[in-house]
Symmetry: C2
Subunit: 208 residues, 2 copies
């Protein structure tokens, strides 16, 4: 079937292009990921991007989905301890850490730094899957009797809104807190999002 003038087979080429795109995105940002640079890096021609991904849009769609997959993995990798409150805080920390570890990837997921790529409905639904990783953690807190009053998914969305709001402003540079105050604010923001669902009277102690 394929011709393979290049050293790599079709699947290898696909992976190599994706890796190169991720690396370029991570190291130099969205503007650096161009079809020509990718082709040069991998040792193929720009045409491969069209046969394998249907264009730059398709390639970035794959990056977008991989970004949400990785975020989900980071969230699911948070250990389940004996203290559910600690676990909840771990979820929030994992979210922020994942975003800060690859901010350009986070940008591709929630902003539109590459003009060619626009989210499709399927992409948005795929992104939604990641939210279930958060919802699972919230469900454990409900089962442990620490949270109550709403469905786990509903609480998870509120938690997501809070975490994303903070992370988005932090990454864009709009938060001017000193480092210590910044950490404290993130904890506070997450705590406030969960407090209304805490069982104990000292609501704000959740996730701290």
């Amino acid at each position: 079937m394929p011709v393979r003038k290049s050293v790599l087979s079709g699947d290898e080429l696909r992976l190599a292009l994706l890796d190169a795109a991720s690396a370029l995105l991570h190291e130099e940002g969205p503007h650096a990921v161009s079809t020509r640079r990718l082709a040069d890096l991998v040792g193929t021609s720009t045409q491969s991007i069209y046969t394998l991904f249907g264009g730059k849009q398709g390639l970035l769609r794959a990056v977008y989905r991989e970004g949400f997959d990785r975020l989900g993995q980071h969230i699911r990798a948070v250990p389940v301890t004996h203290d559910v409150r600690v676990d909840l805080r771990g979820l929030g920390d994992a979210y922020r850490a994942s975003a800060k570890a690859s901010p350009h990837l986070y940008s591709v997921m929630f902003e539109r730094p590459v003009a060619e790529f626009e989210c499709s409905d399927e992409d948005l639904e795929h992104a939604l899957l990641t939210l279930y990783a958060l919802a699972d953690g919230v469900q454990r807190a409900i089962d442990a009797g620490v949270l109550h009053g709403a469905e786990a998914f509903d609480i998870a969305v509120n938690l997501w809104v809070a975490a994303h709001g903070f992370v988005s402003l932090e990454l864009s540079g709009h938060l001017f807190d000193e480092p210590d105050a910044l950490e404290a604010r993130y904890e506070a923001v997450l705590g406030h999002a969960l407090a209304p669902y805490a069982v104990s009277a000292s609501a704000s102690s959740v996730a701290r």
Copy 2:
């Protein structure tokens, strides 16, 4: 001094270019605002953008700042009524309404949809001024005895994080609530951000 081959003087040209950029951004999105289209629309050459703004970067810097100025105006335009709780809700509604009225402008302010433009420290500080519009509203709530426990600016930042988190996810399409549930969630998110600072025991009633 200037030559004015064109019909417009320097200042007029500057305003015309800014208006055209805003219009193009609003109607067709960030990808549509190109130096050539702007020059054609205004009836000048691309060079004017360099003499007047120093490049596309400078032009978008002006758009960015105008975006924050307009957001601040919308927030300050919220009427002060006899009920401070109503006013607080009005602030949140104004923020979201302003973003949804010109989503592409909101994108320029908080995302990086145009590769050429990168926020400078001065731009970020300029954006910070808008936050004082929110802080003023929060201060009124403190003065009225509805909120307490932190500085107005601090509470305003938390409110901003909540509002931005919701609006950002809403605009990017990542929120899947039905319309009614969406409105309710926004109210809830804002309420949760303010609840820890409410004086009454029924904390979540703030801003509803």
